[in-house]
Structure formats: C-alpha cells, structure tokens
Assembly symmetry: C2
Homo-oligomer: 420 residues x 2
Amino acid sequence: MGRSGRPKIVIVGGGFGGLSAAQALARANADITLIDRENHHCFQPLLYQVATAALSPADIAWPIREILRGQSNVSVLLGEVRSIDANARIVQADTISLPYDYLILATGVTHSYFGHEEWSVFAPGLKRIEDARTIRRRLLLAFERAELTADKAERARLLTFAIVGGGPTGVEMAGAIAEIARQTLAKDFRHIDPREARIIVIEAGPRLLASFPGDISDYARRALEHMGVELRLSAPVTQCDAKGVVAGGERIDAATVIWAAGVAASPAAAWIGAETGAAGRAKVAPDLSVPGHPEIFVIGDCADVKDENGKPLPGIAPAAKQMGKYVAAVIRARLARAPAPPPFRYRHYGDLATIGRKTAVVKMGRLELTGFIGWLFWGIAHIYFLIGVKNRLIVAMTWLWSYLTFKRGARLILASRDRA
Amino acid sequence: MGRSGRPKIVIVGGGFGGLSAAQALARANADITLIDRENHHCFQPLLYQVATAALSPADIAWPIREILRGQSNVSVLLGEVRSIDANARIVQADTISLPYDYLILATGVTHSYFGHEEWSVFAPGLKRIEDARTIRRRLLLAFERAELTADKAERARLLTFAIVGGGPTGVEMAGAIAEIARQTLAKDFRHIDPREARIIVIEAGPRLLASFPGDISDYARRALEHMGVELRLSAPVTQCDAKGVVAGGERIDAATVIWAAGVAASPAAAWIGAETGAAGRAKVAPDLSVPGHPEIFVIGDCADVKDENGKPLPGIAPAAKQMGKYVAAVIRARLARAPAPPPFRYRHYGDLATIGRKTAVVKMGRLELTGFIGWLFWGIAHIYFLIGVKNRLIVAMTWLWSYLTFKRGARLILASRDRA
C-alpha cells in the first residue's frame, strides 16, 4: 500500500501502451508511478521523418510529465529499470526502488539483427529519437563526404543507401531518401549530382509491405521503382560491415545502411522470469497478466498476444493503446472488487504506409486507398493523432511548406554518440 | 587562378560575417569556396531559446549550402580548417587543400575562461547548437534528479542555477530559466516544487548589461529581481568545480553553471601568424586586410576592429555582416581594378536584450524602450532577421503559443557528448 494507504501501481515505459494505461487510470484511487528512461513520449509513426530531416525531434516528442501534469495520482520518474523482484514486488531502477501492488510492463521492442548484433554499428535501426538523429546525421554526411572525395568508387559507395527491410518503415525511409536525393538536394552541390544516388530496399520475403494485400504490395513496388528506388526481394542479408551489405548473395557497397527489419522484445520478460514466445515477447494470460503473477501485466510490443486467427498482433500504436486501456480496466475492476472485464480482444482498424510525395497506401477494412487520396488520408490521420494543437499546426505547416518547396527544414548534422 | 582561370576566393566560416561576404560576392567573376566545420548557419541571437527548450535547433539553423544554393559561383564544403600556408596561399582542412587568391577568415569566437579552461566542463558556454543542447539537457536533468533525490542539501544544489556573466546572454538565460522554474514546470513535479529553484546571475562588473546606459541596467536589475533572480554584482568568479562556483568570495552550491562571460577569438590569427589584440583578435588594416598580406581579410568577432571612439566593436551580428559586405566590396574593386572603397566604418544601430515574458530592453540611437513595447520590438526584430518564411512563421507561432500557455515546446533530454 502507498504512503497514503492507497494501492501502488508502477508503469514501466511511457510509449503508447504505458501512457494509455496511465491515462485510463486517471480516476483510480491509487498512487501511480510511471518510469521511463527518456523524459519524453515519442510519436514513433513519424520518427522516419526526423531521420530524413523533414521534422525536428520536438515536433513528435513531448515530456511525459507534461502530458500527465493534470493527473494528480501519477508521478513521473526519469530512470532506467535494472531488475524486478517479483516476489517482493519491487522495481529496481538505477536511481530508486519502487514497491508496487500492480505492475504494468510496457517497454516495447528494440532492433533485432537475427543473432548478428555486431551489425548494429553499421546498420542503425529506428526506434528512438536518438536513432533518428544518428540516421539523419549519417544520411546528410554521406552527401557531404561524397562532395569532398575525388575517388569515383568511394563516391559511388557514399551515394548508395541500403535499407534492410521492406515493411512500412523501410518503404517510408526509401521514399524519403529518394526525395532528398532527387529533389531536396538536387541543386545544393557543385561536385556531385545527388540525383545519381542509389537507394536500394532489401527484403528477405517475396514482397514489400507483407501485412497489406498483394495488390497494394505491387502498387508500392511500382511507386518506389518510379521514384528510382531499386528493390531486392527474396534477398536475405547475410553480411553487414563497414563497407556495405551482402544480400541474396550480392555484395552492395553502401556507406549508409539502415536497419528496418527485425525487432526483439525488450528484456521485460527476463526481469520477471516469464516464459517467452516469438522474438522474446512475454507470454501472457487472456487478461494480459503474467501466469503465476496476476498483479503483473505485460502490454504492447513486448507482450506475446495473438488475434482470433492466431496471428501475432502488429507492432503498431493502436494495439499498444488498446492493451493499455484494457489493463487499466482490469486493475480498476480489481480495485473496486468488481467482476473482471472479458478477455482482451484486439480490434484492427487498418494499415497505413506512406511511400513519398503524393503517394501512400491505406487499407482499412474493405477500404483501400492509394496515390494522392491515400496520402491525404495518411497525413490527416497522423496529424490527428499528434498531441497538442501547437505540434499539429507546426507539422501541418511544415508538411505544406515541404510540399510546395521540396525543401526539408531540419537538415542539421549534429554530433552524437555515434562515431561512424 | 581557378580551374576556370577565375580568381579563387576562400571564405572560412559560415556565420553572419562569412555568409554576408559570400552573398555580397554573388556577381563576382570568381570561384568562391565557403568552408565551415558545421553544415549549418546558426542564428546565434536566439541560441539561448534552444538552450532553454523554447525552440528547436532547426528553427534557428539552416544548411549553409541551401542558403547559397542559387549562387552558382559558390561551392560550400563541410570541413575543419587545420592550418593555413599564407606564403603558398593554401588553406589546409582535414579533408581537402584549398588554394586561394583571396582569403576571408570569419571564424568567430569561443568561450574564454580567463586562463581556467578546466572550468569548461563544469560551466558550458553558449556559442553553437551543440552547446545549446548540452545546456538544455543539464537544465532539464537537474529538475529530474531533484525529483528523485531524498537528500535535502543535494536537492537544493540541483535546484540552484548559476549564470556567470551579466551581459545580454546572461540576462536572457536567467530570465528564461526563471520562467521555466516558476511557470513552465510549476505543476509538473510531485516531490519538488520547481518554483523554489534559485537562479543567480554572477557579474564581475558593477552592473548588468554594461553596453547599455545606466538606467537600462537598473531596469534590467529590477526586472530580474522581480522574477526572483538573485544578483551578485562586482563578484568575480574565482573557482568553478563539480559542486558549484565561488564568486566574490562566496561559495555557491549549484549543479548547473552556465558560462556567459568571456570570449576569445578562434585561432584565425595564429593560422596566419598575425599580430593579435585583445582576446586574441587579429589586428587588421583599415580595409580589414592583414598587414603584410593584402589578400587575407579577417572579419567579425575574430578581427580586432575599433569604432571612432577607439572602443572595440560589439560582438553582434550587424557588426559581422557589415564587415562581410565591406570586404566583398574591397575584393570586387580589386578584381575590377577599380579604386578601393574608403576604410571600413562600423555603423551601430543599437542594442537589444530580452529579460523575460513581456520584458525587453532596446536602445537604438535616442530611442529607449523597455517592458512590453520593448519586448514586442525585440520579437519582431528577431523574426525579421530569421531566414525563410517557414522559420519565421514557426518561431512566431511557437512564441505565441508559449506566451498563451506558458509551455515550452522542446523539453527534450537527448544524449550528447556531454557526460556530466
């Protein structure tokens, strides 16, 4: 029990899942602590726009404590969880120990290199603001270095961009890099022609956007090819080093490699000794609690949850949000000694992916949109889900400006931990 | 002569001086190369707003090559100059050698710790985007760490912010930090009250804003005190360490110390073996060329130039811009074998400094403005001098939003090289 005699709820992670859970507990008579290793919630669906210099980090990230400022039963802490004592019911962070009566783990996923974690230095992934800044820096530096070199082969390597993974992130990154090279930077250099850049999407499976219907995959392929993006389908990556990648047996010399392929769950399951399913996700009961620990819930990308067809839930914001709201309802019911809600059921609203200027694909139930209409729908939906009037206005204005001028407003090369 | 047989002009530095020189040479029949170690031009007058989480880096920084994209006689390079061979007329950068017929050095200033360079780790200064991010991170982390600690003395130290230097930057930083503590963060924490934060401005001289008239200094002092900022005047700093500072004999325990005091010229003078004046600035002839090297010009903050009263020019954007335009005119005249322009004369338009919400001071000739009118004037003047319609709109909108909501839109703690 808390210092006020109220039950203590600890939420680890301030992403879509953790934040939704905290907000859905607004009226719970409990002391809630949300802990995250970042001070901000990041709107991941637009992270690729930070990586490609279209938006600034602050346009898609908000201080978690500001979002929850009005909710007096929540205390937000900045800290990194090190371990959990599930018997004593204590979360151990680097800075503080947090006892709990209920625990919600919403720590998301990180990149997976399929057992080749050493590739991570050569091929950064895109999950956090810091990742986006690293990719932005490498992307822009590649053009700057190409402008400076007199060596033709090195110049070609610097102007080759390989994106590993043909899902929504890979397709979005490829389209955005093609726009940067063909339009934004077209007239900015004197010694190179950025339009000569090669952008290559490498996908292990036979088609792009595997979560969409086949005709949409075909559309995305044609749209990318029309933008001058090369595709390597059914080409698993077998090597990744300082020079480039080997995909489907072909050596591709590329100074910039971006990892948009596998993900692995964060160590949430390991902290509590839970059984894991695919990609290290924690196995959970139908109410998203951990078997044997009805007071611990795992939600979002780090929970192993299936839909009614037995397929794993997609790693998208709506899934995490639905789980966050659901476990909040379970906990509220327990606090009120009311009957438990029925088992969790995920409701899939649809899939969206943008490919480039005036081109996006949308699949919502029986509705399929492509091209300009799909792109408008995509833009409006994303602005709608941003937090706060100011960021919506700024992102809308920045997009309109980019649309009219072909420019990108955040072309800054800033130092980072990344030394490559 | 250039590969085209045209004279080669190299400009080192893409700040206000170097950029103005490049732009004023737009019609020169010459091959111009502008080299900078950053890819962006930074609008330094608003850098303190990035440091205090009001604006994003990209709101006040633009890729230099984009600014000069339309000027076909200019090539922009990203690189750091290592040395200059003034006899062979070659600039040696880390990546490339640049021969020149005319050389313009516009490399600005860095912080000076008056012989105590070891203080720089404890008391970062504010000259580059990277500095602003470091300060923003320390500022926001101090509140986060105070929220986590149970130790009263440590909490007080974490909530003490010392600003060394009572010039415009020091006054602006102090006012902004006071606003963050008293208003922006007031309701965001559960264990601390950010309004209890101490903000202390330490000035070695007897008054704030020494470049303004005495009544404006008094006004600034009263305005800061009204905002709860403590002042230590005639209090030179004699010690600076991990715990805080000693100023005028008084020990001040402060987790965050910001250096807004001395500056020293960049090593431009040393590169060419030029004689130096105060703060390491290169001595120059009346046409801003280096005595003995009529083909080398030094402009902006790294040139030792006096006004008609024998006072050094202020280190502000208009002074650098005027010098940039002037040396461009000198070079154009030489290229055209026309008579040289008359010696450089600086024209001082005025001084501006903002103190906080609805409070700024302006001194332009006989015009003196304070309070809300001064603040409006300050805001409009700064938006006017920003580059591009988009950034003007975004900064104006962000300021309006901050004014109405007391919020700050860029409260992100991001990793940096800074390990403190």
